[in-house]
């Protein structure tokens, strides 16, 4: 079973995540897409780890997951907080930084 298949799959998943981030307005879905991208990276990590026969690849997946968990916790807290202030979580309505 060749490494390439896994990497192609990883690239496709990642791209779907990117497109999701770009086209959806709902902040929660954008967050999910980010998780999708992280997972795609994880897949590449594990696949290459097996190809090289190195444990570090799987170890990094572990770290990525820990960071992802932290990020989701914070991100969702921010979304909740934004929703309380603005009654919306649509990112195009949260544009106070408009120049």
């Amino acid at each position: 079973m060749s490494l390439e298949y896994y990497l192609i799959l990883s690239a496709l998943l990642f791209t779907i995540g990117v497109i999701g981030v770009l086209i959806r307005r709902n902040a929660i879905i954008i967050f999910m897409c980010i998780e999708l991208m992280l997972n795609a990276a994880n897949l590449a990590f594990v696949a290459i780890s097996r190809s090289l026969g190195q444990v570090e690849g799987q170890l990094f997946v572990f770290f990525v997951m820990a960071v992802a968990a932290a990020e989701v916790a914070i991100g969702l807290a921010i979304i909740v907080s934004v929703f309380k202030h603005r009654e919306t979580i649509n990112v195009d309505e949260v544009n106070s930084l408009k120049g």
Binding site: L7, L12, F14, V18, L22, L36, V55
Partner: protein, 180 residues
């Protein structure tokens, strides 16, 4: 076509479909459920790759903890179906899809070609991978490395989680005060 190949295509197809479903559904709940499907399929891929520990963590942490958190927030906010009409419809959407296709093409290009000249694609690595199939990486190996060579990053991870914990409390608590 060996069993591994068959399983790869099944799990790969499921995760792709799940991913597309995530970005397609109007209602966040459906997106979340699709994401869980994708995560499970990925856990299957990890099993095929011999990464049993990662597969287990994927199911427990992602599909279990993180996705529950997502669902929890979705239900808390009770958003319902969202209109997708907004500033981003139209031009930007087109640009985004074109960019996505370009990015995917580049990723595939890397996967197919670029690896030929790297260590990952080398013959030595191929042999090693073949040997590994017979002798897969055990959870024991991960644990040993984690608590010896990567002890410091491991502890730093715990700090990140702690910071996240405190951050969430601060964010939510301030809201309560302003409301009172």
């Amino acid at each position: 076509m060996n069993p591994e190949m068959i399983l790869f295509f099944i799990f790969g197809a499921v995760s792709l479909i799940g991913a597309i479903a995530v970005i397609s559904f109007r209602h966040p709940i459906y997106s979340a459920l699709s994401l869980i499907v994708t995560f499970f399929a990925q856990a299957g891929l990890f099993v095929i790759l011999g990464a049993h520990f990662v597969a287990a963590v994927q199911v427990i942490v992602y599909a279990g903890a993180i996705m529950v958190l997502f669902l929890f927030v979705i239900m808390l906010l009770n958003l319902g179906t969202l209109s997708e009409k907004g500033a981003l419809t139209g031009k930007l959407k087109g640009v985004a899809i074109i960019l996505g296709i370009l990015l995917a093409a580049q990723g595939i290009y890397i996967a197919v070609n670029a690896l030929n000249n790297t260590e990952v694609g080398s013959e030595a690595a191929q042999e090693k991978a073949a040997a590994l199939t017979n002798n897969p990486i055990e959870t024991y190996d991960i644990g040993e490395l984690l608590f010896s060579k990567y002890l410091l990053p491991f502890e730093v991870t715990s700090l990140i989680l702690l910071a996240a914990l405190i951050g969430v409390i601060v964010l939510v608590k301030r809201e309560n005060q302003t409301e009172n």
